[in-house]
């Protein structure tokens, strides 16, 4: 999977743009020149710019508050007498249930929106439709990516307020699931609905490049539209599913607005992790930055892991 666009273009670089090894060698030998030095200095300065907030946050999370915070430099690791793991324990205790809650809606919502996005993209790409009827459907789906969610919040509240979810989910309460968890069902459906457009666009860019002959051959062999999807299109979509699932998971896990509107309080048993994090380390005595930083890292951990493991897929999802 790592030989997808971003990496593939590296190889074009060494063969195409420059003259390969010879040129590279010359570059390196000439590397002592001012231009090359300036280039690397700039790149390292940029690296420092991007890493400083994260590094400062990380070291701060291990400091005692307020003594350690006030008597050390913000980017220096804490000396032993100001070092503590206490903030991590506190943050984990506060965010633990939020992590579980976030996973409970982020995982199903990610999978469902990816599937529905794939269906929509297939139905709008590989089917013979008159363009003038297809274009409006497509445009409405694509435009869905760009809607500021504020424009739908009040109706969304009304809609979920009017939905008798409590009654519909009665069997769950018998099983001992707290009623507050209706919020997670609402979050799942909402994220699926608003996630479909971007998933559809990602899959569409992929399906448009799928060989038409292969699908045509299947159709001529008498395979129905549905069968063609199940037997051919779905299996070859696997690389794109990886991209879409990673992108969607990050988006849904990271989103605060819907969590805030649909679950509303961080004290709810169903509060997602971002909602708890937004109010963490805030008190009358002032802000506990060490606790906030530890909390930020814990909340970011799932997406950070995904990003570090699947950086290429993430970049591809972002660039498309």
């Amino acid at each position: 999977m790592s030989d997808e666009p971003l990496d593939g273009s590296d190889s074009t670089d060494s063969t195409g743009r420059t003259d390969g090894i010879a040129d590279r060698l010359r570059d390196d030998l000439a590397g002592v020149d001012g231009y090359r030095v300036a280039l690397y200095v700039t790149i390292l300065a940029m690296t420092a710019f991007f890493l400083t907030p994260i590094e400062s946050g990380l070291v701060t999370a291990f400091k005692t508050n307020p003594e350690g915070i006030s008597s050390t430099l913000p980017f220096a690791p804490p000396p032993p007498r100001f070092f503590t793991l206490e903030k991590w324990q506190t943050a984990l205790a506060a965010l633990g249930r939020g992590m579980v809650n976030s996973a409970l809606y982020a995982v199903p919502a990610t999978i469902l929106s990816a599937l529905l996005g794939s269906f929509a993209a297939y139905g709008l790409t590989q089917a013979d439709w008159r363009a003038r009827y297809k274009a409006p459907v497509l445009t409405m789906l694509v435009a869905g990516i760009f809607i500021p969610y504020q424009a739908v919040l009040v109706p969304l509240s009304q809609f979920w307020g009017a939905m008798p979810l409590q009654e519909l989910l009665t069997p769950l309460w018998v099983l001992g699931v707290p009623e507050a968890y209706t919020g997670l069902v609402e979050l799942t459906i909402t994220h699926v609905a608003y996630g479909i457009p971007i998933c559809m666009v990602l899959f569409r860019s992929y399906y448009r490049n799928v060989s038409e002959e292969m699908i045509e051959a299947a159709r001529l062999d008498g395979a129905t539209f549905r069968r063609t999807y199940r037997r051919i299109v779905f299996p070859i979509s696997t690389p794109m599913f990886a991209v879409v699932l990673i992108y969607q998971f990050t988006q849904i896990w990271n989103d605060l607005l819907f969590a805030l509107i649909l679950v509303s309080t961080e004290s709810s048993p169903a509060a997602p992790v971002v909602l708890i994090l937004a109010g963490l380390g805030e008190s009358m005595e002032g802000q506990d930055f060490a606790l906030r930083m530890a909390g930020a890292f814990i909340a970011a951990l799932p997406t950070l892991i995904v990003y570090i493991m699947f950086g290429e897929e993430f970049a591809e999802g972002v660039a498309t």
Partner: protein, 358 residues
């Protein structure tokens, strides 16, 4: 070429269909008119299958729909229709509903009264200095953030593209903040901007500047927010530009070099103009991110309080609705925000449509 191929495909498909169905082919009567208003003469006179009035009526409807909308219309409907309806309901239905609510006086816990509709809330918004400030701030944030993130991301892309070592590592680091939540980055930057102990003031202090209250000063906070958002999203711009740069043929670089252009001149004259497509798509996405910056500001001020000096329509709207229950007023603000977004994406979607991408 594509047209020829697709018409050949349609012929084949129809032929295959004809052999499969035992129905009577060749009664082209009503289909000819449909096919010809499709403007595709190749289809006229092709062996078109109709139910001919003999097949079951359910099948007839499907056939008719197919003839009207395209061969696979009914077969593909189970794939695109459910997602389309879901999006239609949640996006377009909700926006329409939101607009109707904005015409009411809805403020309480009992539902809105739809019998008395007027534009009162919009008049109120036009006279509300809070909304006007928020509109100006939204505009400033969108323009400044988009411009800086584009420029900065382009510089990053060009640097990364100069055949450097450990390119992947640097690229990963630059894109890293993009994987973080607005809530998380707001925590980091709240700490960075901290008056006494934050990195920004410590670093500036060594140059003899400050300390400066970045978040507390209402004339600085918007720019502090822009800076933090640029930190989070310029890696995204870099990735988009990098893809654009690598799509430019090698010859263009060589031609510029042969002409004796300096590196700077080469980028300015030859490369930059070719990145127009990347710039447009990146700019649209960045603008939309900026319109959604609510999450960041909410976390920065820890709640529904107004982020003094950086209040944007997104934060103002949510506060009016969920903090003070001015639902109708909040809906009107939401419509203003939606129209701002529409003024950005409308032309973009039209451009994409003209490019044949929709």
């Amino acid at each position: 070429m594509r047209d020829i191929l697709s018409s050949v495909r349609q012929r084949l498909r129809r032929a295959a269909h004809a052999t499969r169905t035992s129905g009577d082919a060749g009664d082209g009567g009503e289909d000819d008119t449909v096919a010809s208003d499709d403007g595709d003469p190749a289809l006229d006179g092709a062996a078109v299958v109709t139910d001919g009035g003999t097949a079951a009526s359910g099948d007839g409807i499907a056939e008719r729909l197919n003839d009207r909308f395209g061969d696979d219309f009914t077969e593909s409907a189970p794939f695109w229709l459910p997602p389309f309806l879901l999006v239609g309901l949640f996006v377009y239905g909700a926006i329409a509903w939101n607009f109707v609510i904005s015409l009411t006086d809805y403020e309480g816990f009992i539902g809105p009264d739809y019998s008395d509709l007027d534009f009162e809330m919009y008049v109120r918004a036009a006279n509300d200095s809070g909304v006007i400030d928020a509109t100006v701030n939204t505009f400033l944030l969108v323009v400044a953030f988009t411009a800086v993130a584009l420029a900065f991301g382009m510089v990053l892309a060009i640097l990364i593209d100069r055949n450097i070592r450990f390119e992947n590592t640097f690229r990963t680091i630059y894109l890293l903040p993009m994987s973080l939540s607005f809530v998380v980055t707001a925590q980091f930057w709240l700490w960075m901007y901290n008056y006494n102990n934050g990195v920004v003031n410590i670093v500036l202090g060594t140059a003899g500047i400050g300390p400066i209250s970045w978040i507390g000063n209402s004339s600085l906070v918007l720019w502090a927010v822009v800076f933090a958002l640029v930190w989070q999203f310029s890696g995204y711009t870099m990735v988009v530009y990098l893809a654009g740069l690598r799509a430019i043929p090698t010859e263009h670089y060589e031609a510029a070099r042969v002409d004796g252009a300096s590196t700077l001149k080469m980028y300015w004259r030859v490369i930059l103009p070719q990145l127009k497509g990347s710039t447009i798509s990146a700019a649209i996405v960045l603008m939309v991110f900026a319109l959604k910056a609510f999450d960041f500001l909410y976390s920065l001020v820890s709640g529904y309080r107004p982020p003094n000096g950086a209040d944007i329509l997104a934060t103002k709207m949510v506060r009016e609705a969920y903090s003070t229950n001015n639902w109708a007023y909040a809906s009107a603000i939401a419509i203003i925000l939606f129209l701002m977004a529409l003024s950005i994406i409308g032309p973009y979607l039209y451009y994409e449509y003209k490019q044949g991408n929709l």
